[in-house]
């Protein structure tokens, strides 16, 4: 059984960087686990909620990204959209990213080299007019557009352990394969103060670009979070070379 609480504790010692995540939209679709299984490294178990797998599409703004030694004025900002599912490794629940699109080429390079994460450079915009928020992204040199318009609705507050919201939102670990070995990255932040949200318009190709069948419907669950301040801790190898698909 996955320990969903352990990863919420801040790791000891200094962080390797700080950043703020703002205006996060969490779109989730229910997926048959059998569909996702071939797309996730064998060494990672799919993390299911009541037998159901989930795929998330999460556009947001990255702000004030910097290592601890860099003065604040040099911190930088960009947009990001990630496509992910939820996995466990040796009982620890985390995120497995199918793709991450970012509007900063520097961030893409740094994350690909430093974290081996599947980042892609994209032209991205975000805006808000009246009550409607919009994100738009076009991956450079490839298939991978998405466009979403949404309206924030009612406050839910922090998620309760045991609920689907907690399962989907309160994720503090990521797992990535690097040279065939499993690595784990960790972040720490206050619990998400979630809101319900309504997607008004959605065009997305990112799930299909990651090898999944396009859901062909609006997300099954939509949440919004105004933002969290995040501490980032370096990834570390948690297992030697393992088979991957």
């Amino acid at each position: 059984m996955a320990d969903r609480i352990g990863p919420t504790a801040r790791p000891p010692g200094k962080n390797d960087g700080t950043q703020s995540w703002e205006s996060l939209l969490f779109c989730h679709w229910r997926f048959d686990a059998a569909v996702l299984r071939p797309l996730v490294p064998e060494s990672l178990e799919l993390d299911l909620f009541e037998g159901q797998a989930f795929v998330g599409l999460v556009p947001f703004k990255m702000r004030d990204i910097k290592p601890p030694w860099l003065p604040q004025r040099w911190a930088f900002n960009f947009f990001e959209t990630n496509v992910r599912t939820y996995v466990t490794y040796r009982g620890e629940p985390g995120v497995y990213f199918f793709s991450l699109d970012a509007s900063s080429l520097l961030a893409v390079w740094a994350a690909r080299i430093g974290w081996s994460l599947p980042y892609h450079h994209a032209t991205m915009t975000g805006s808000q007019q009246d009550q409607v928020h919009r994100y738009q992204s076009h991956r450079r040199g490839g298939q991978g557009k998405h466009r979403v318009a949404f309206r924030v609705q009612d406050p839910l507050g922090a998620s309760l352990p045991g609920t689907l919201e907690y399962f989907l939102l309160e994720r503090y670990l990521l797992f990535v394969l690097r040279g065939g070995a499993v690595y784990r990255g960790q972040v720490h932040h206050a619990p998400y103060q979630a809101w319900t949200a309504e997607v008004l318009d959605l065009e997305e190709q990112l799930l299909a670009a990651a090898g999944m069948p396009a859901p062909g419907r609006m997300p099954d669950l939509v949440h919004y979070c105004p933002g969290v301040d995040v501490e980032v801790f370096a990834i570390e190898r948690v297992a030697k070379k393992e088979a991957s698909r």
Binding site: I5, T8, A158, L160, P161, G162, Y166
Partner: protein, 273 residues
């Protein structure tokens, strides 16, 4: 501590207060201790305003309660300078803790608490309320139990702990049933059927202790909540439950959240008993 407190196959308004045996302690460490303490810490992180409350001016009283908890549990240490005292000790024990003042004229109001595993209420919502108000939603409480409860609280002797049990059936194994889950649980109750009741529903027991503090006179409630799937009840226990659910008054079934699933539950217990 027992995990099935019912002994007769018919419903009774139970007061059920007993003195704690001399060789027993108010605070327990069950096999679930580590997991539940971690869950409490997480709930304090995510829902601090819901699970913790203290009335201004109650600091001295709470200090005494914290000292008493440390005296009852040798694993509880003084360690945090940041958290309020009740949080510091309360997050090191499995039990929820609520404190009422010895103010009989005000009906023994709730003055503090760290309650992570409530059954549909929050300590914040109860703060400042009298015993009659806090139990207002309890069907039959005013008619059958209020006067006895008030007498009991008034007559509790310092450090002489008494205990009682409370029971329920819930369509989840989750412990933290804060009010925000009400709609979801009501929906889950409506989906219970005879075939799935044994796995989806849990028999939930609260082991409650009451102890009067010697200096302030405040009364400490500790609540240890245990639950297990109905499928784990024995045939005898199912026979008792079948009888209890046949005789439970409608308002009590409503209050306990049983009404939407009482038909399937009766069928389930009849079949197993």
């Amino acid at each position: 501590m027992i995990d099935f407190p019912l002994t007769r196959p018919s419903f009774e308004h139970q007061f059920g207060i007993q003195a704690l045996p001399a060789d027993a302690t108010p605070l327990q460490r069950t096999a679930e201790f580590e997991d539940e303490v971690r869950l409490k810490r997480e709930l304090y992180r995510t829902h601090r305003d819901q699970v913790f409350a203290v009335r201004p001016g109650s600091e001295t009283l709470v200090e005494e309660v914290a000292r008493w908890i440390r005296s009852q549990a040798d694993w509880v240490q003084e360690r945090s300078d940041e958290d309020p005292q009740l949080v510091d000790v309360g997050l090191q024990i499995q039990e929820d803790v609520a404190v009422v003042s010895d103010d009989a004229a005000s009906g023994f109001p709730v003055v503090a608490g760290l309650v992570c595993f409530p059954s549909g209420w929050s300590i914040r919502g109860k703060l400042g309320q009298s015993m009659a108000s806090t139990h207002g939603p309890v069907a039959g409480f005013a008619e059958h139990l209020l006067s006895r409860t008030v007498k009991l609280l008034a007559s509790l002797r310092p450090l002489k702990t008494v205990h009682r049990y409370n029971w329920g059936i819930v369509p989840t194994a989750d412990l933290a049933l804060l009010p925000e889950r009400a709609a979801e649980l009501n929906s889950a109750r409506r989906q219970v059927d005879r075939q799935t009741a044994g796995q989806r529903c849990c028999f939930r027991v609260e082991y409650q202790t009451l102890t009067r503090m010697p200096d302030s006179g405040a009364i400490v409630f500790t609540i240890l909540t245990r639950r297990r799937p109905l499928d784990q009840l024995t045939a005898d226990q199912c026979r008792i439950m079948a009888g209890v659910l046949r005789t439970i008054p409608e308002p009590v079934a409503d209050y306990k959240g049983l009404t939407p699933m009482i038909g399937p539950l009766r069928e389930y217990f009849d079949a197993r008993g």
